[in-house]
């Protein structure tokens, strides 16, 4: 019922300066790679593209585009509050697209949403855990 998709951390932590096209390409290819193994061609790719869109939007809204102080949007660099919001948005946008494309029908709406929510919590928890581990290591 609840499956964590930790790989999206890779997309979330790509550097700020990455061009949009490249970001989308990377997201798409990452998703496609996942799909190749999950045997769900296109599902993860679309989800990752959605995540990339949310990432770009969120960053452009919350941060000054010209002056990125930090190279990457990590927990250590951006602070807990910002990162939590960022992670929640990314994770849930990704999971929504992923599960709805996987189910591909609206009749199981509540079940799909429940799966999405539980997996999202799981993923979020794992992501933050990982971030804290690296945060601690990188602590200056």
């Amino acid at each position: 019922m609840a499956t964590p998709f930790v790989y999206i951390l890779f997309l979330m932590l790509l550097p700020f300066g990455i061009p949009n096209l490249l970001l989308y390409l990377i997201a798409f290819l990452t998703g496609l790679t996942l799909d190749a193994f999950y045997d769900t061609l296109g599902v993860n790719a679309a989800a990752c593209v959605a995540l990339a869109f949310v990432r770009i939007s969120f960053i452009s809204i919350t941060l000054n585009r010209d002056g990125f102080d930090e190279p990457e949007p990590t927990l250590g660099n951006m602070g807990f509050k910002w990162f939590i919001l960022y992670a929640i948005l990314c994770v849930f946008s990704h999971h929504l697209v992923l599960f709805f494309l996987e189910t591909f029908r609206l009749s199981e709406l509540s079940y799909t949403l429940l799966r999405c929510f539980l997996s999202g919590i799981f993923t979020l928890f794992t992501l933050i855990l990982i971030e804290f581990i690296f945060y601690n290591r990188k602590a200056r």
């Binding site: 949009n20 798409f28 998703g31 296109g42 869109f53």
Partner: protein, 279 residues
């Protein structure tokens, strides 16, 4: 154009998202059996719905012709049913006479050939020896009226010597006083709706609209209404009246008849044969 480029460039994130996302969904639908079937199914549902609605409309518009054809089919089937009924009803209708012992059995038969225009008319029915019919049996109409006698019998068919025949003579009586006479046809007219009662003695009082019934002396059961008197008169040089009656049954529309099987017919015949013929 430049503005467009600027616009697209400015919101490139969104456009790129749209492009990649659509690509992803297309991949999903095209390459995954389940999503494909689901997509196709939903498409089919939509298409099916449209067709169904169209069909409802078409049905409504075609209601008139459909009704007509149904009515025609109904009529045809009903006719067939009726025919089958006539053919298949070998069932005998038993009538117990109130006198107790005498018993008549009615056998329904369908008229398959009839004529009313000749001097001697013969009716053919679809029952024969196989159904228990024998020569000489009386035949009546379903409602009221006599038809004639069985004349020839084959395995499955029989000829009736109709009342409208030179040689047919049926013993009848007036219902009100049992005055005995005999019913004949075609003495002076050949109207299939009329017949004559002969041999009723002059002293009986006969009125117009009196009912004539079978007497029971010929093989017909007694009391079957035959017709009503429409004209009376004294035949010249005779001591009996010439009574013209209107027959109750219509020979022109005869559809089916009852052949009457008399349990004691053979006995009666045997007895009658012992009486020396005086004529």
């Amino acid at each position: 154009m430049r503005n467009l480029w600027i616009f697209i460039n400015r919101y490139n994130a969104f456009f790129l998202f749209i492009i990649f996302f659509i690509f992803g969904i297309v991949l999903t639908v095209r390459n995954n059996a389940y999503q494909q079937s689901a997509a196709v199914n939903s498409t089919n549902e939509v298409v099916g719905d449209v067709y169904q609605n169209l069909n409802v409309l078409k049905k409504y518009l075609n209601l008139g012709p459909v009704n007509d054809s149904l009515a025609a089919e109904n009529a045809k089937l009903k006719t067939e049913l009726l025919m089958l009924k006539r053919i298949d009803s070998a069932k005998k209708i038993t009538v117990k006479d109130s006198l107790g012992n005498q018993q008549y059995t009615y056998l329904s038969a369908r008229v398959i050939k009839n004529s009313i225009t000749l001097r001697n008319n013969i009716i053919t029915i679809n029952k024969g020896v196989a159904d228990g019919i024998a020569t000489g049996m009386p035949v009546i109409s379903p409602g009221v009226g006599v038809v004639g006698y069985i004349r020839d019998v084959s395995e499955h068919l029989a000829n009736i010597q109709s009342l409208l025949h030179k040689e047919t003579k049926i013993s009848v009586s007036l219902k009100k006083n049992n005055a005995l006479g005999s019913l004949v046809w075609g003495t002076n007219n050949f109207d299939y709706r009329k017949a004559f009662v002969k041999d009723i003695p002059n002293h009986f009082k006969v009125n117009i609209k009196d009912t004539v019934v079978t007497s029971g002396y010929s093989s017909f059961p007694p009391g079957i209404p035959v017709g009503s008197i429409i004209n009376t008169g004294v035949a010249a040089g005779d001591n009996s009246m010439a009574i013209e009656i209107r027959l109750f049954n219509d020979f022109s529309t005869l559809q089916y008849v009852y052949v009457i099987l008399d349990k004691y017919a053979a006995e009666q015949k045997e007895l009658a044969s012992k009486v020396p013929n005086e004529q």
